[in-house]
């Protein structure tokens, strides 16, 4: 029996979407750095990271409901709601800020649980349930912040948006003198490390029964149910994780802008971009296929395209057209799977 041997070919085939997305991202980012006047410097990378993290977190939030074969149209709305909440609670001394941070994540996770409960026990399709709850979240956001404003702890913002070195010095964990020993590591942007931290939490979760059930439900809900997997728990957990990560994205948005803003069009843009990122990252909207890493690359690809516009000085007015065309092309690439279909009936399943 060789079934337990690690098979490289299989491992690659299972991750072809992630690998492709990673390769495209690497190429685009390389092109960006080669043509950037300042080249590959910590400052440029840090700035890029700050501009990408909100979308990366939103894409990660979208990944889990897509894995169960659903979708979460409230990602952008929960982000905006948490952003507005953050502008009320994220100021003051360290203790108040920590409590506020916990409150933000708790509220967004609770909202995700509510989405899950409506989907599971209300038996409403995720697309419609989250469309309705997104209106509620946006309404709450507007109640919290009728006009843009509010206050965010600048210390926390510096802590989360700088490089690792800045964060460590800022938090008082190391003194300025030690910095020389940390030169390369210290230059890593903190926001990207936060994304890695979120990913690191996801890996063990994925190996739990609930985590496995999420993918199983996406592959075949009937089969998962018949095998005795906890289908309702998996679905609620999927939406809870989505809400939590969307909340993180909202908090990060607050870190960047230092204010709360109930920007309805922006919420819609983030939701749609998160879906696009998940698909570019190799996930299949019917469920069961996809992963966090792929979605991270998908979101980064969307962002790097915009970075490249700055370097190659593309006329601002045609940028949206180029961006749209690239998106359309990137999505159409997945039609190549048609070439591998042997039985035409397989197309319709």
């Amino acid at each position: 029996m060789t079934t337990h041997r690690f098979k490289l070919g299989l491992a690659i085939r299972q991750r072809v979407g992630t690998i492709t997305a990673g390769a495209i991202f690497a190429l685009l980012y390389l092109a960006y750095h080669v043509h950037h006047p300042n080249g590959f410097t910590a400052q440029v990378v840090g700035q890029n990271a700050n501009e990408s993290v909100a979308l990366v977190l939103a894409a990660m939030a979208q990944t889990v409901p897509v894995l169960i074969g659903g979708i979460d149209l409230s990602v952008g709305a929960v982000m905006t709601m948490t952003n507005c909440l953050a502008s009320h609670v994220l100021s003051g001394n360290a203790q108040e800020v920590s409590l506020g941070l916990a409150a933000c994540i708790l509220v967004s996770t609770a909202f995700g649980v509510m989405n899950g409960v409506i989907v599971v026990y209300g038996r409403i399709q995720p697309i419609i349930a989250t469309l309705a709850t997104s209106a509620i979240a946006l309404g709450l956001a507007l109640l919290l912040r009728p006009f843009p404003g509010g206050e965010i702890s600048e210390t926390l913002s510096l802590l989360l948006t700088g490089s690792l070195l800045d964060s460590l010095v800022e938090s008082g964990l190391v003194s300025q003198g030690v910095t020389d020993n940390l030169s390369v590591l210290g230059n890593l942007p903190t926001p990207m490390l936060l994304v890695f931290a979120a990913g690191a939490l996801w890996i063990p979760f994925q190996r739990t029964v609930t985590g496995r059930s999420i993918v199983a439900v996406g592959s075949s809900e009937t089969a998962a149910f018949m095998s005795g997997l906890p289908v309702p728990r998996a679905k609620i957990a999927a939406f809870a994780v989505s809400g939590m990560l969307a909340g993180c994205a909202g908090v990060f948005l607050a870190m960047q802008t230092l204010s709360g803003n109930a920007d309805l069009p922006q919420a819609g843009t983030y939701t749609l971009a998160s879906i696009a990122a998940v698909v570019i990252g190799g996930a299949v909207l019917t469920g069961g296929v996809g992963g966090m890493l792929g979605s991270v690359f998908g979101a980064l690809i969307l962002r790097v395209i915009a970075f490249n516009f700055r370097i190659f000085e593309i006329e601002p007015l045609i940028q949206p057209l180029v961006e749209g065309t690239i998106l359309l092309a990137a999505i159409s690439v997945s039609a190549t799977r048609l070439l591998r279909v042997k039985n035409r009936l397989d197309l319709y399943r």
């Binding site: 209106a135 509620i136 009728p146 909207l285 007015l317 998106l327 999505i331 009936l345």
Partner: protein, 315 residues
């Protein structure tokens, strides 16, 4: 007696509930105006006509959206199909304006349909990308500002004109409704929409040209969206940026409130009309009650959820 019970359980149930809800909204609004202003503004024929005229644009979009939802797909390119059709039509002007706008809608629908039916790409993401391309081309064409060109006389007639006291837009919506419901219930194409929506594999095995059905559905949706864009440009006398933004999601909401299954295969056209009326009158009553945008959004969300939860309950 047994027949009426069966009917109550049938697909008509959401239609009755949605219609009852429209009456409820109007009643609540009227009580409010009677108490606050001492008049029943909501029930005056001119006010109702005006609301129905505004609702016609959403009604025409929802008719197209319903066709696509019936086959189990969705069209998220609606916002910029609508805007692009209006912008191109006003930019060209003259007798060809309407024809050009409608052709644009048909071409967008064709592209969507080919992507979904032949390339087998998920409609949600493919139409989203088409929307981005359309938006990009309009930003390139207009420079990101609203064009100065005016709507033609015929477009103004369709959007803002009246015929014997009835808004032409409402007549157009009525005509579209008669056509769509006839197609859905009395033509082989209409029946095949339901079959493809229920099971595309079964449709294929039964010899239904499922790919062509999908392409034609998307073309019809594109055409109706473009028509709504031309009417809306006529109503506001010109095309403007973001004019389509308020139509895609409310149209989907209207179709679903009308009882159609978002996964395709079931739903009555009557329900979609009732759904459009719910959305339109809910908006108008909330604005009469001077509710803030925040409260409106929350009420809107709760209404969609509550209606769907009620539909799920067995009578």
């Amino acid at each position: 007696m047994r027949i009426t019970v069966a009917k109550w359980n049938s697909a008509d149930r959401p239609v009755y509930i949605a219609s009852a809800f429209v009456v409820l909204i109007l009643a609540v609004g009227t009580i409010y105006t009677l108490v606050a202003q001492g008049t029943a503004t909501l029930l005056s024929p001119s006010y109702l006509m005006q609301q129905l005229q505004i609702g016609s644009f959403l009604g025409v979009v929802a008719a197209g959206m319903m066709i696509v939802i019936l086959i189990g797909h969705i069209d998220l390119s609606v916002p910029w199909t609508l805007t692009t059709a209006a912008m191109l039509a006003t930019a060209v002007g003259g007798p060809w304006a309407i024809l050009l706008g409608l052709s644009l809608g048909a071409v967008v629908g064709l592209v969507n349909g080919v992507g979904v039916a032949y390339l087998r790409l998920p409609s949600m993401i493919f139409t989203l990308a088409v929307n981005a391309v359309l938006q990009g081309s309009m930003v390139a064409m207009t420079g990101g500002t609203s064009p100065q060109s005016q709507a033609t006389e015929l477009m103004r007639f369709l959007g803002a004109g009246t015929l014997m006291g009835i808004p032409v837009a409402l007549l157009v919506w009525t005509l579209v409704s008669v056509c769509v419901s006839t197609v859905l219930t009395r033509t082989p194409f209409g029946r095949s929409l339901y079959i493809v929506g229920n099971s595309e594999a079964a449709a294929y095995l039964s010899g239904i040209p499922n790919k062509r059905v999908i392409v034609v559905s998307f073309i019809l949706c594109g055409l109706l969206t473009a028509l709504a864009g031309l009417m809306l440009a006529g109503y506001s006398a010109k095309a403007y940026q973001g004019m389509g933004d308020l139509y895609a999601l409310p149209a989907i909401a209207a179709v679903v409130i009308g009882g159609a299954n978002i996964l395709g295969g079931s739903g009555k056209y009557r329900g979609t009309v009732a759904g459009v009326l719910v959305v339109v009158f809910l908006n108008s009553v909330l604005s009469i009650m001077q509710m803030s945008e925040a409260i409106r959004q929350i009420v809107y969300g709760f209404v969609i959820l509550t209606m769907l939860l009620v539909y799920r309950r067995k009578a």
